[in-house]
Symmetry: C2
Subunit: 203 residues, 2 copies
DNA sequence: CAGAAAATTTGCTGATCACGCAATTTTACC
DNA sequence: GGTAAAATTGCGTGATCAGCAAATTTTCTG
């Protein structure tokens, strides 16, 4: 199934992603041109745009993959499982694989990459774009799971979009937590709070 | 307070906003150049970029204003008011002013403009960017209101971001509702559901 | 294994965008 | 009125992104 052609394409994509991230971390985002990324990955600039349609897509590609993985993970959860359990596991999984579920501190390079996503305005915008571009899919998966009509019922899309947002908030909080806290339990807390309601703390 | 200078600037900004929107609705977004918008508004192309730093900003400027108005509205609510009441009123207000709180159908041109924001990918991205760019402010206002530390407590930013998302979902649902439903009560429902929790319907 | 077919890479080109800079025009203030 | 501040404008530059067609690489078929 995986001919040489497919493997090469994946390798090129991977090379472009890591080249883009590496250069952006080393020099700062605005000192990296598409031409540089392509050179670093060993392809022509024109080929870069066959893989990514903007300068920023390559850098956020890992995030894009995480988002897609979450949707796929939700679809893969057992059908009988309660919605919020399935949703929580699905949203958490890609982050658990990257940032470690336990007390192992995440590699600083990975952390710097994720931090850049939320601090560089252009990358933050791109991350939001991909996260919410996928939430039609997410809403559809939720609708399927609870037996709703995604076109007529508000519930699936409301859950999809707020869950996406809650994960954003969790990651942002994780990035600025001092002392550091493990990400996965934090995300679980966010989703638990979202499911249970968000009444004001002191009332 | 409002000298001629300020008034002219506002007028130019307004002219650029309406020119951009009008042209985009008439010809389709990708058939409008910055040059066209500037010409329609009677200024030079260079001046366009003194007001807006991208081609899409002018078109989403009304949305930007709504977002900012919501934050300001939250700050303007009486301090003793319960959080979710204040938050709901603040988020709803700019939409009420535009889309009408009652059974008066919104002007079709306005509706087409808002629809374009969620259907054109570039505009959707821009809308998300401005909405979530403001949510630091929103979180700060929430924190102030509940007496939390926005840097250390997760609650304010979690509420800010999910409220922003819930409004997005509400507007999106409003746009595709058939038969049409009034927007403001719909938004109230979204926020009420968010505050109260989002358990799966059938469990 | 040879050669055709299909997919990918690449260079070239053009349209557009966004901004720095300096000159010009417009507004504000005394 | 005259000067200082602010806004507009034109010009030039660098960069992004996509269409197109040629060249290269991989796959498929006899």
């Amino acid at each position: 199934m995986t001919g040489l052609r497919e493997r090469k394409k994946q390798a090129t994509r991977e090379a472009l992603m890591t080249a883009a991230l590496r250069l952006a971390l080393a020099r700062g985002l605005e000192n990296v041109r598409v031409e540089d990324i392509a050179a670093e990955a060993g392809v022509s600039p024109r080929t870069y745009n066959n893989y990514f349609s903007s300068k920023y897509e390559a850098i956020t590609a890992r995030h894009t993959d995480r988002v897609r993985a979450s949707v796929a993970a939700l679809r893969a959860r057992p059908p009988g499982e309660p919605l919020w359990e399935a949703l929580t596991e699905a949203m958490v999984r890609p982050w658990a694989e990257h940032a470690g579920t336990t007390d192992t501190a995440p590699p600083p390079e990975l952390l710097a990459g994720i931090r850049m996503l939320s601090e560089e305005p252009a990358l933050r915008a791109e991350s939001l774009r991909v996260a919410f571009a996928a939430d039609g899919e997410l809403a559809a998966a939720i609708a399927e799971r609870v037996g709703a009509d995604p076109a007529r019922d508000l519930y699936p899309s409301l859950v999809a979009v707020t869950v996406t947002a809650a994960v954003q908030a969790g990651v942002a909080h994780w990035l600025r937590a001092d002392p550091p806290v493990p990400l996965v339990p934090l995300l679980r807390d966010c989703l638990r709070a979202l499911a249970a309601g968000l009444p004001a703390p002191s009332e």
